[in-house]
Amino acid sequence: MMTRTIPAVLVFFALLAAWQLGVFHALFRLKAFQLPYPLDIAQALVDRSDVLARDAFQFTGLEAVAGLVIGAVAGFGCAVLCASVPFLRRGLLPIAASLNSIPIIAISPIAVLWLGFGQPSKIAVVALMTFAPMVVNAFKGLYSIDRASLELMESLAASPLDVFWRLRLPHSLPYVFSALKIGATLAMIGALVAEFFNAQRGLGVTLSTNIQVAKMPIAWAAIVVAAVLGLVLYAVVGGIERALIPWHVSIRSRE
């Protein structure tokens, strides 16, 4: 495992060194104020660690997590509805799925009108963005169950509620987690971009205001923090998945 990652790590440090030595600046005719050097970004990360940590945990990260949870719960509820009412499956599900291909961030200004400049409007945007992937995936999990298992349960006079708890719900979990992983990335994008539009604090605000005053190292530091936060959120969802569904093939096959 370790030897497999060596080339990637080497490439990382080679690129970083080339960047620091000004190779990209020479290549693309960039000035230091356009593309700051890695050491300057590292310096900004250290100097502004208090602001960046506050932005990451109290603002952008909190918005992403809260919105992801709300969007996931609502999406799962919608999937249950679609799986149990045939008419909604045929009519509502395609509409909910098509939300996937809509740039939801465009409604950020409306969310601000309703919920103000603070965090609730960002949480609402994130919830809307993470809703559709959950509907589509959870529905797939709830609906595409093994016919034989269903027939067995029905022949044993299991109630629909039993079927839901013991068959549909466990079967949907791997699908739910893949939606949550997609959602984790979307949630970070949603929170950041909603903050670009209109906000008081957060990584998106730190990023856009520092670009406007040409303090590029700080803007890049905000990007680094956002990337790390995105990875952490993704890893947390993956960790919960491994803890909750250790029986699933996708996890067993890794070992």
């Binding site: 497999r4 990652t5 060596i6 080339p7 990637a8 080497l10 490439v11 960039l30 356009q34 593309l35 008419f87 909604l88 499956r89 045929r90 009519g91 509502l92 599900l93 395609p94 509409i95 098509s98 996937n100 291909s101 809509i102 740039p103 961030i105 465009a106 409604i107 200004p109 409306i110 009108l113 309703w114 797939k140 609906y143 595409s144 984790a184 990335t185 970070m188 994008i189 950041l192 971009v193 670009f196 539009f197 990584l203 998106g204 990023l207 856009s208 670009i211 040409a214 590029m216 803007a219 890049w220 905000a222 990007i223 956002a226 990337a227 995105g230 990875l231 993704y234």
Partner: protein
């Protein structure tokens, strides 16, 4: 196969009925909200949004939840329509160009990676990690470097397309049927033939899956770049009409509808291309039969 068929039960009539029901709920909610929050003598002024004698909190009502029929009329009336659709086309053009550039580069890179383990091990981890981090945050940076909104939009759209296409193409090129490969080898097929006749066709379902994700992402990427001070495009229209206040309520909502339609349209076009390119796939065969 039967499961796949049941799965595609998208019933146009049911979709239309649900869509109409949602529209009716919107219309009803909007008119109730309007009546509850706007005093009768101010109603005409609150609809137009331009009358300064109407109290601000009543003028903003239509901006928060407009009557859908008035939004629709903003989309077709000659005063706004040309501007809205033109702005949408400008955004879509950049998104499509970036999508094509990113798709071609991503596909090419995956073809290289499948030849070289070293290249794959050096670059693939970044392609995978980049799907877990918000790459769109680079939009403002790219714009501040290039100062040209078209270049910035195209670059970001290409960037968000590139990664999923690379990862999925590689997965597809690797996931050939071993029996088919054995057969071709035993018939002394050349390397080129194996690629053209087997590997590339069997990668296409994976490629299209990535392209469908990227179609939406490239539109979002283009819009995000526009928020950072571009001059043209649907993101700019949304930002400006928002600043100009309630007199532009329907135009703002019209712009949001146009942005949504861009995403839907682009996705739909890619999905149709998929259907045509992958006629031989079981899920499309059963649907057309």
């Amino acid at each position: 196969m039967n499961a796949a068929k049941r799965f595609r039960l998208a019933d146009p009539l049911a979709i239309l009925l649900v869509a109409l029901a949602l529209l009716a709920i919107w219309q009803l909610a909007s008119s109730l909200y309007f009546d509850a929050n706007v005093a009768p003598q101010f109603r005409a002024g609150a609809i137009s949004g331009a009358d300064p004698t109407v109290p601000a909190e009543m003028r903003v009502v239509q901006m928060k939840l407009p009557l859908p029929n008035l939004v629709l009329s903003a989309l077709v009336n000659p005063e706004n329509a040309a501007q809205l659709w033109l702005a949408g086309l400008i955004t879509l053009r950049s998104a499509v160009i970036g999508f094509v550039v990113g798709g071609v580069i991503g596909f090419g890179l995956a073809l290289l990676m499948v030849q070289s383990r070293l290249l794959e091990r050096s670059l693939l981890p970044y392609a995978i990690i980049s799907q877990m981090v918000p790459v769109i945050a680079l939009g403002p940076i790219v714009y501040s470097i290039f100062k040209d909104e078209n270049v910035a939009r195209i670059l970001i759209a290409a960037y968000v397309t590139f990664f999923p296409v690379t990862v999925n193409t590689l997965k597809g090129l690797r996931s050939v049927d071993p029996n088919a490969l054995a057969l071709m080898t035993s018939l002394a097929a050349s390397r080129r033939q194996v690629y053209w006749l087997l590997r590339i066709p069997s990668s296409l379902p994976y490629v299209f899956q990535a392209l469908k994700i990227a179609a939406t992402a490239s539109v979002i990427g283009a819009i995000v770049v526009e928020l950072m001070g571009a001059q043209q495009g649907i993101g700019v229209t949304i930002l400006r009409t928002q600043y100009y206040g309630p007199a532009n309520a329907y135009k703002l909502w019209g712009a949001i509808v146009v942005a949504s339609l861009l995403g839907l349209l682009f996705f739909r076009v890619v999905a149709i291309a998929e259907r045509i390119a992958l006629r031989w796939q079981p899920e499309f065969r059963s649907a057309s039969a």
